[in-house]
């Protein structure tokens, strides 16, 4: 970095800090809309588009970026406390976050999630800023063949989740994949398995499936208990020490935050890939290389850190192809592009020469947002976690209303409310009869993406299946994938042998 870049960065930093009066209210707004299922950052920016366009370039940019970051973080809050992941990016968060809340550690879980999100987001922002030209190249190597393997990393989670009863786990996972196949095919747009329902042509909408399987079904289960928190985990009066304990737990695992957020960053820079892929892949990687894989899904801090650090890594990653190549990586980035173009900024290779302050400004806004967010949200966790102590007779109907409404919001089809209810019933049956809803969900979320990349690869090779092994990077990923499947088994066997000797 030469001195002129450094001076631009310093200048932009102070300018961005000067926008605190936009950043702070936007963060609060972002946390709220992020927490409402279905109300993504992208939706909110669209709704507030007239306001955004009326702001000057720099203010509009700061507004959109801090909203984006805050919404990402906000989505984790209901995912942890009441098992409602509001966006696909937060779908892996409740796997370990919600069990923690049930154990009365909601406050710690929130603190862990905030620390992981902020450090992950801040760190990847800095890395992205420093290595942007190199990172932008990732998209040039990660084509459909390579993405198939990346998707398989995530999908292989089905098998690990299903470990206790493989047959039932696979039934759940493959049922999810089958449900995920509903909709028109990627190439010729032939409708499949849609029951003739128009609203399913575009595939099963994610939010209704997500909230139905996780939250609606859970609402029917929790009414057996007085409160969400189990009896032994009955929380004490609100206190600071739980928050600090959570911060401490997260900070001790800083290495974990670093590498899972980098997974998010790398997946985020690939145009078209998104937070849902990143968080599942990060969770799977985290579990594969863990000393204690059996703890995942029971409220293990690392199982919460991985998806939260990763999905915030994606946030900074999506800016890279937007700024360097002019290609928006996701929905929010696409809307940013529209707004920026309205102000006459053209993205692409020339941006950093013509208007370096815009390019650096976006990263700086992200970094400053994360810092301010950390300071404002952490103290709130002690109050938020009280949700878990509301008696379930009140909480369960609220969860149902809230989630059915959330199912409606993204597309505003009444059908989606029915769908959320349908998935709720399916999820309830699955829970009561020992099938994993998480396995179904992974299939529903990642299945369509896997099929898309698979069909592109096959179409490109005229149907030759060997195309899957046709690229060097792809083959390296295949080996890594095989390793990440085999290694945990080997490690597990070794650990078991060690444990068995003294036990028997």
């Amino acid at each position: 970095m030469d001195s002129s870049t450094a001076s631009i960065l310093v200048e932009v930093f102070f300018e961005t800090i000067g926008y605190w009066y936009i950043i702070i209210p936007t963060i609060l707004l972002g946390l709220i809309v992020g927490g409402i299922p279905g109300f993504s950052a992208a939706n909110t920016i669209i709704i507030l588009m007239p306001l955004t366009l009326a702001l000057d370039l720099q203010s509009g940019l700061v507004f959109m970026i801090s909203l984006y970051c805050a919404a990402r973080m906000g989505a984790g809050i209901p995912a942890i406390l009441v098992n409602i992941p509001g966006t696909a990016g937060a779908a892996a968060t409740p796997l370990d976050g919600y069990p923690m809340a049930k154990q009365g550690k909601g406050q710690q879980a929130l603190a862990i999630s905030f620390v992981a999100s902020c450090i992950g987001g801040l760190l990847t922002t800095i890395i992205a800023l420093a290595t942007m030209p190199i990172l932008a190249r990732v998209g040039f190597y990660m084509h459909s063949v390579e993405m198939i393997v990346v998707m398989l990393f995530g999908i292989s989670l089905i098998a690990s989740i299903a470990a206790q009863d493989m047959v039932k786990g696979l039934i759940a996972g493959f049922l999810g994949l089958m449900i995920g196949s509903i909709g028109t095919d990627v190439v010729y747009a032939t409708p499949r398995g849609t029951f003739g329902i128009l609203e399913l042509y575009d595939g099963v909408p994610l939010i209704p499936a997500l909230v139905g399987l996780f939250a609606v079904s859970e609402a029917f289960v929790i009414i057996e208990k007085r409160v969400i928190v189990t009896h032994e985990g009955e929380p004490k009066a609100p206190n600071w020490s739980d928050t600090f304990e959570g911060v401490n737990i997260a900070l001790k695992r800083w290495v974990h935050i670093v590498w899972t957020s980098i997974i998010g960053l790398v997946i985020g820079v690939i145009p078209g890939a998104g937070a849902s892929i990143a968080s599942f892949v990060a969770y799977q990687q985290s579990r594969s290389f863990s000393e204690t894989p059996e703890l995942y899904g029971t409220g293990h801090p690392e199982g919460l850190i991985a998806p939260e650090a990763a999905n915030n890594g994606v946030t900074s990653g999506t800016l890279v192809p937007l700024l360097v190549l002019g290609i928006p990586g996701g929905a929010t980035a696409a809307i940013m592009l529209v707004v920026m173009q309205f102000h006459g900024v053209s993205f692409g290779p020339s941006l950093f020469e013509d208007q370096p302050k815009v390019g650096y400004g976006m990263f700086m806004a992200m970094a400053v947002s994360y810092v301010i967010m950390f300071l404002t949200i952490l103290p709130l966790s002690r109050y938020m976690s009280r949700v878990t102590t509301i008696p379930t007779i009140y909480l369960a109907p609220m969860i149902i209303a809230f989630t059915l409404v959330g199912g409606f919001v993204p597309r505003e089809y009444m059908f989606d409310m029915y769908l959320a209810l349908g998935f709720g019933v399916l999820g309830y049956i699955a829970r009561r009869t020992g099938y994993h809803v998480a396995a179904i969900l992974i299939g529903v979320i990642l299945g369509p993406l896997l099929e898309k990349y698979f069909l592109w690869s096959l179409k490109k090779s005229d149907g030759d299946i060997m195309v899957l092994f046709s690229s060097t990077l792809g083959n390296i990923l295949w080996v890594a994938f095989a390793m990440s499947i085999i290694l945990p088994i080997v490690l597990g066997m070794r650990r078991k042998r060690k444990l068995e000797v003294p036990a028997e």
Binding site: I46, Y188, I327, Q341
Partner: protein
């Protein structure tokens, strides 16, 4: 730029509150017994953030000043735009308050390949915002930098060509080119303009075909080699020649035409309302502010061309005919 205004900290709260109040109380702008007395809902059958989004915002920003009410877009992507049309025709009240903002090119092509549940003549397009020819382009770093490179490479292997979707005029343009050159191109539908540009830039495909408006918006990261129509944009499309000039063909222009549409029933039931719509639409088209807004959203000035009910009906029919001709290739049947 007329709409742009600078806001500092002191005015932010005031403006924010005013904007909020305005948004919340918009129905309050009631003018008794006049049309329109409430906001329009516009059904857009593609995803937000794309070319349709940009054009819609530019045009409605001018149109709304003439009508005194706002346009609220709803994006209904899915099944190549089919979902948006089905919902518009099936669920939107035919009262002239619900409009469609579609693309006469690729979207009408759908009906030729697989008929919709409603009658194709039950809706019409009444106002063209802009039209742009499709084109063929490569990524800036692609090893293929000229049409000769592409021709040479296509002799050694089947080239993969990104397109937004199979049923798209750009795909037809490419198939026609393949027929003429005697080479087989492999079309890969990359689901939308963003993916199609990204595919060519990152090397997922050898090159791509797309509506030229989106290609121009992609800037330096791509290079246009051939236009499936007349290159009225010149420099912006790297002075690429037209397919007919370059290869001695007489292919009709492969256009992407963004236009507002409406239920035929709404026209029949409320002819006076429809008259207001068509009149103010035309006036807006002549307003210099439109050109300003259009350019501000990266529109290509040459593409901003008005067309009315008759011209659009002709184009709709032309698309249906082309679709019937290429049906087998585009549906994999």
């Amino acid at each position: 730029m007329s709409m742009k205004q600078t806001i500092n900290r002191r005015t932010l709260l005031g403006t924010g509150a005013a904007a909020a109040a305005l948004t919340l109380a918009t129905p309050g702008l009631v003018r008794a017994n006049t049309f329109p007395d409430r906001n329009f809902s516009v059904y857009i059958p593609t995803a937000e953030g794309g070319g349709a989004d940009r054009n819609f915002r530019a045009f409605s920003s001018v149109w709304k000043t003439r009508l005194g009410v706002d346009f609220e877009p709803g994006f209904y992507p899915g099944a190549s735009g089919r979902v948006g049309y089905e919902i518009y025709m099936g669920k939107a009240e035919p009262d002239c308050y619900n409009l469609l903002f579609g693309n006469v090119g690729p979207e009408v092509l759908n009906w030729a390949l697989q008929p919709p549940t409603f009658g194709i003549d039950d809706y019409i397009y009444f106002g063209q915002v802009d039209k742009d020819p499709c084109c063929l382009f490569v990524g800036a770093e692609s090893p293929l930098q000229t049409m000769d490179d592409i021709f040479a490479a296509s002799k050694t292997r089947k080239l993969n060509v990104g397109t937004s979707r199979m049923a798209h005029p750009a795909s037809i343009g490419l198939l026609a080119l393949g027929d003429k050159l005697g080479v087989d191109f492999n079309l890969i539908p990359l689901q939308g303009g963003k993916g199609t540009v990204a595919g060519a830039v990152t090397g997922e495909v050898d090159f791509s075909v797309l509506t030229s408006g989106s290609v121009i918006a992609a800037g330096d990261s791509v290079k246009t080699l051939l236009v499936f129509g007349n290159n009225i944009a010149g420099e912006a499309l790297d002075n690429a020649p037209s397919i007919n000039d370059a290869y001695g063909m007489d292919l009709p222009e492969m256009l992407s035409t963004r236009a507002f549409g409406i239920h035929q029933k709404a026209i029949d039931d409320f002819p006076d309302r429809f008259e207001v719509l068509t009149r103010t639409f035309k006036e807006s088209h002549e307003d210099p502010a439109l050109m300003e807004a259009y350019i501000a959203t990266k529109g290509q000035p040459e593409y901003l061309v008005y067309a009315g009910v008759e011209e659009l009906a002709v184009e709709k029919q032309a698309m249906l005919d082309l679709g019937a001709e290429y049906k087998a290739l585009l549906t994999g049947a």
